[in-house]
């Protein structure tokens, strides 16, 4: 019984760890898609953020400067995306796809040119990373059965970005549904003409959304390379940007459900490591690949409308042209 509890706590603990980049990227995508800009480029921004954070942290020795660099890289990518999709009214999907390749190519190329380690950045340690924070009384309460253990293992002992990610969810909900800015943001994604008629700049609002997107996904990237791991390696985002996009659709572009879906996808990821080679009663051995594919299969089923309907913001993906 006791060992089961430990097992479950450990799985939930790694669920949280694995869900953090998904939550950040998913919320990031939420802002831009709510404002009417499709962001296939989340994956690329995540990767660029991870690389910039690790590179900066390796050079300066400060995780905080690394975090800033990660956000900066994501901002540059968002800027290109905005230029293509807001100013030049180009195809947002194509721009996103281009950005994903740009990140994949540039991070490896620059990594090799700068650090000459086959695309890896130097190993980071100490202040170059965000280290686990022990919450107050965690050690004291450790001996308390169940609750103490959960508090010590699950809630305490994460790095600061993890807490930021979880706080970002209610904040996003508040911004989106309780502030004037949020109302306008949602409006510009549904009906930009109405916003324009009201005398509010569509371009400005959409850029504001892209900036928030970049900040969040940049933090997510930094999490990958300087919090969760100790350095950058090739293609370390490994499709998480796409999973976040899937989670966003699954959550129907709402912050609360987004958190739950990201935790679910994180859980699948965590379980995948545990069940490798284990034989279960009745079903037998579950192939790892089946669990890997599950988030994608679930999303396809959802998109097909078999479990509820996912309706994107109406003006999503359409550049806004002012009437003359």
């Amino acid at each position: 019984m006791e060992s089961y509890l430990v097992d479950i706590t450990l799985i939930l603990d790694s669920t949280v760890r694995l869900a953090v980049p998904l939550i950040l990227a998913c919320l990031a995508g939420l802002y831009s898609e709510r404002a009417g800009i499709v962001d296939i480029g989340l994956e690329g921004k995540l990767l660029a953020g991870a690389f910039a954070a690790a590179a900066m942290s390796a050079v300066t020795g400060s995780a905080w400067l690394g975090l800033l660099a990660g956000i900066g890289a994501a901002l540059i990518f968002s800027g290109i995306h905005g230029l293509a999709s807001i100013n030049f009214k180009g195809n947002q999907t194509i721009s996103g796809v281009a950005l994903n390749f740009l990140a994949a190519g540039l991070t490896t190329f620059l990594g090799q040119s700068w650090f000459k380690r086959g695309g890896y950045t130097p190993q980071l340690s100490g202040d170059q990373r965000f280290n686990p924070i022990t919450l107050p009384f965690a050690n004291e309460l450790r001996e308390v059965p169940v609750i103490g253990q959960i508090y010590y293992e699950l809630i305490s002992g994460h790095n600061i970005i993890t807490y930021v990610a979880f706080i970002a969810v209610p904040v996003t909900a508040w911004v989106l549904f309780r502030t004037r800015f949020g109302l306008r943001l949602r409006a510009v994604g549904e009906n930009p003409k109405a916003i324009d008629t009201a005398g509010i700049s569509v371009t400005r609002l959409r850029y504001q959304a892209l900036i928030i997107t970049a900040v969040l996904v940049g933090i997510g990237g930094a999490y990958l390379s300087i919090a969760q791991s100790a350095g950058f390696n090739n293609n370390m985002s490994a499709g998480r940007g796409y999973i976040a996009l899937a989670a966003l659709i699954f959550a129907k572009w709402r912050p609360g459900p987004a958190l739950l879906v990201c935790l679910m996808f994180g859980f699948l990821d965590a379980v995948q490591f545990r069940i490798q080679g284990q034989v279960f009663p009745i079903i037998g051995e579950v192939p790892v690949q089946a669990i890997q594919a599950l988030p994608y299969i679930l999303t396809v089923i959802l998109l097909a409308g078999f479990i509820g309907r996912a309706v994107a913001p109406k003006a999503s993906g359409i550049p806004y042209t002012k009437e003359r």
Binding site: I94, A104, Q112, Q292, Y296, T299, L303
Partner: protein, 362 residues
């Protein structure tokens, strides 16, 4: 806004966009302290300078023509198929299954069957997103991305658990016998030395001609283009949009699967993990750069073939540059020819109309 003259629209603007992409690429190379012109020289030598290099260039070109055509055909119908990567991967399953079933049979019999069988598997993998788009309204961009990931997991399972023969360490299927494999051109032409370019190359050329004929010379192609330009009007004209979407996606999958015929049937002679290796994604860049026209697709596929083979050479000769520079160029090409394709349109129109005062006289 004054429209551009036709020649500027068809040739000048795309060309300028490509030049822009390469200029930015050159600046990046310059930024890391390497000489971009020297890099170009090495790449050209690597791609054309010797027989096997040239053969490799054509081998890559073969892949990129198919992937580029797959994206182009769908795009003519207004569908952005990001899934050739997965479609080619699943197509590989069809190729190896028929190959292994007839292992030892002469290639002249197996080659056409590989095309049919591989094509069928690729078609299926693209048909499902097409069906979901047509009947259930789920966006093909998202579903094809998801299907790429599902393909990776599914094929990984099939290769490592089902197709892998006992006693083999690496994750791959049993090999095809030499006589069953699509013959490589070096067996006929000595020039190609030990390069993998094979008969599939000619299939790619045929595909280019066929797609030109299909899109611009047939009723079906007219329907495809009508659907892409104005789905409402197409529907009004009596074209079944739903049916067209499913057919076009399936055909796009067939084209993508020919990448598998080239690699599984002609080069490796077995099914290995991740054999597509990004060729499907290069197809996106090729399609936009070539503006979906077979002539453009053929030329851009060749350009990317040069980049990939030349990039290999480059990584050898200039240690400061890795092959990933090519992925960067690929991204810049998609960005400038695809997403920002109209960036230079307005300034160009202004420039051209100023030099022709007659049109600006109104």
């Amino acid at each position: 806004m004054t429209p551009l003259p036709r020649w500027a629209d068809v040739v000048l603007l795309p060309l300028l966009n490509v030049v822009l992409a390469f200029l930015v690429g050159g600046l990046i190379v310059l930024a890391v302290g390497q000489n971009p012109l020297q890099a170009v020289g090495i790449m050209l030598y690597g791609a054309f300078g010797y027989g096997s290099g040239f053969g490799y260039t054509l081998y890559y070109t073969t892949d990129f023509i198919f992937a580029g055509l797959a994206v182009s055909l769908a795009y003519h119908a207004g569908l952005f198929n990001i899934g050739p990567e997965g479609q080619a991967y699943v197509g590989g399953l069809g190729v190896i299954l028929i190959g292994l079933a007839l292992n030892g049979t002469h290639w002249a019999i197996v080659f056409p069957l590989m095309i049919i069988c591989g094509g069928a598997f690729g078609a299926l993998w693209a048909f499902v997103p097409g069906y979901l788009q047509a009947k259930r309204g789920s966006h093909v961009v998202i579903t094809t991305i998801l299907f790429n990931f599902i393909a990776t997991s599914m094929m990984g399972f099939l290769i490592s658990r089902v197709l892998k023969p006992a006693g083999v360490n690496s994750d791959e299927s049993a090999p095809l016998e030499a006589i069953t494999r699509v013959p490589q051109l070096r067996t006929f032409i000595e020039l190609f030395k030990n390069s993998p370019v094979n008969l599939t190359f000619f299939l790619a050329i045929i595909a280019l001609v066929f797609i030109y004929w299909l899109i611009w010379r047939t009723k079906f192609g007219y329907a495809v283009r009508a659907l892409g330009q104005n789905p409402v009007a197409a529907n009004y004209a009596g074209i079944s949009n739903q049916k067209m979407i499913m057919i076009v996606m399936a055909m796009s999958g067939v084209l993508a699967a020919m990448v598998a015929v080239n690699n599984v049937g002609g080069v490796q002679g077995r099914l290995i993990l991740n054999f597509v290796n990004g060729a499907g994604f290069v197809g996106i860049a090729v399609a936009f750069m070539g503006r979906g026209h077979p002539v453009g697709v053929g030329l851009s596929a060749l350009l990317f073939g040069i980049l990939y083979q030349g990039g290999q050479e480059l990584a050898f000769q200039m240690p400061g540059i890795t092959r990933e520079m090519i992925v960067t160029i690929q991204a810049l090409v998609i960005l400038f020819t695809g997403a920002m394709g109209d960036m230079l349109r307005a300034p160009l129109a202004r420039l051209l109309t100023r030099s022709e005062p007659a049109t600006g006289a109104k």
